[in-house]
Symmetry: C2
Subunit: 147 residues, 2 copies
DNA sequence: ATAAGTACGCACACAAAGGTAAGTACCCAT
DNA sequence: ATGGGTACTTACCTTTGTGTGCGTACTTAT
């Protein structure tokens, strides 16, 4: 149980990448780097689930809606448009009535999807540990201020 | 250029996992599964960046604030509390004045962090392709409705 | 003596995310 | 003929995320 802070090891100098550098290779730690937008689309609430769902193959709009439980039509459409704009999802519309549209991953989308799936899988597999940790952390906090 | 939709391959039967099953192994596709909350914390705008930052080692609050460019004190504190509650981040406060608090990853946090880093790294490395795709997709859309 | 740094909590405000409901223009099953 | 399915869009409203500014209780640097 440490009561005094450790000594500082080494100061990290500040970095200021140019815009051109941010295009060649993004930097999520940089405030105005475009990679942050992409990150937000990919890690958005429904974006993650759509990418994982599409890893299994092409889906129609309403198939996705059923698979991704809880998503509204509005947000599913919105999310798909984000991912399509970023070149991760391909949209194929057939000129028939009633409408028929198929969504699938592009090459980029598949690569991204595999990474988000790795994360989602890990969370699913370790959910029990995480929920257990929640209890523990909560208990420890309460112990530090019993009144 | 397909103009008629392909035939359907096979209908997937509906699944309804019980709450108990959702605890042993989460299912992010299930509406009320707790894994979704965890997913949201981990993939939140600042959660991603904090996890990646902490992979490099222990950081103080203000170190994180400087490293994660653009985050406000309010949201950094909030994000850290989410991750701490989920057992991914450890908080160590020293009873000194001025305040000194150190944040680090737990075992769970490191595993999660590695996965989000893999995603962040991929996005950084493929940013150029994604930005290029944005242009292309935009152009294709405009071409389909020139007026 | 004054300013800056530290790690937050709190109140206020705004914008974005997200849900609900309705409308569209047809087809198909009952 | 009525109801449901399809792939959205739009308008309206609520919730959440997020930023800003202020206060704190001191210490260290200027």
């Amino acid at each position: 149980m440490p009561s005094s802070p450790p000594a500082v090891p080494a100061p990290t100098p500040a970095e200021t990448p140019t815009l051109a550098e941010l295009m060649r290779r993004g930097d999520v730690f940089s405030d105005r780097c475009p990679s942050r937008e992409v990150l937000q689309h990919v890690t958005s609430r429904w974006g993650v689930l759509v990418l994982v769902a599409l890893l299994e193959g092409t889906h129609r709009f309403s198939d996705l809606r059923r698979k991704v439980a809880g998503v509204s039509e509005r947000m599913l459409a919105q999310t798909l448009q984000w991912l399509e704009a970023d070149g991760l999802v391909r949209r194929q519309a057939f000129p028939v009535v009633p409408p028929h549209v198929e969504y699938s991953l592009t090459g980029l989308g598949r690569e991204a999807g595999e990474r988000v799936q790795a994360l989602a899988d890990w969370i699913e597999g370790n959910l029990a540990d995480i929920l257990a940790a929640r209890e523990t952390v909560q208990r420890d906090k309460s112990a530090n201020r019993p009144k």
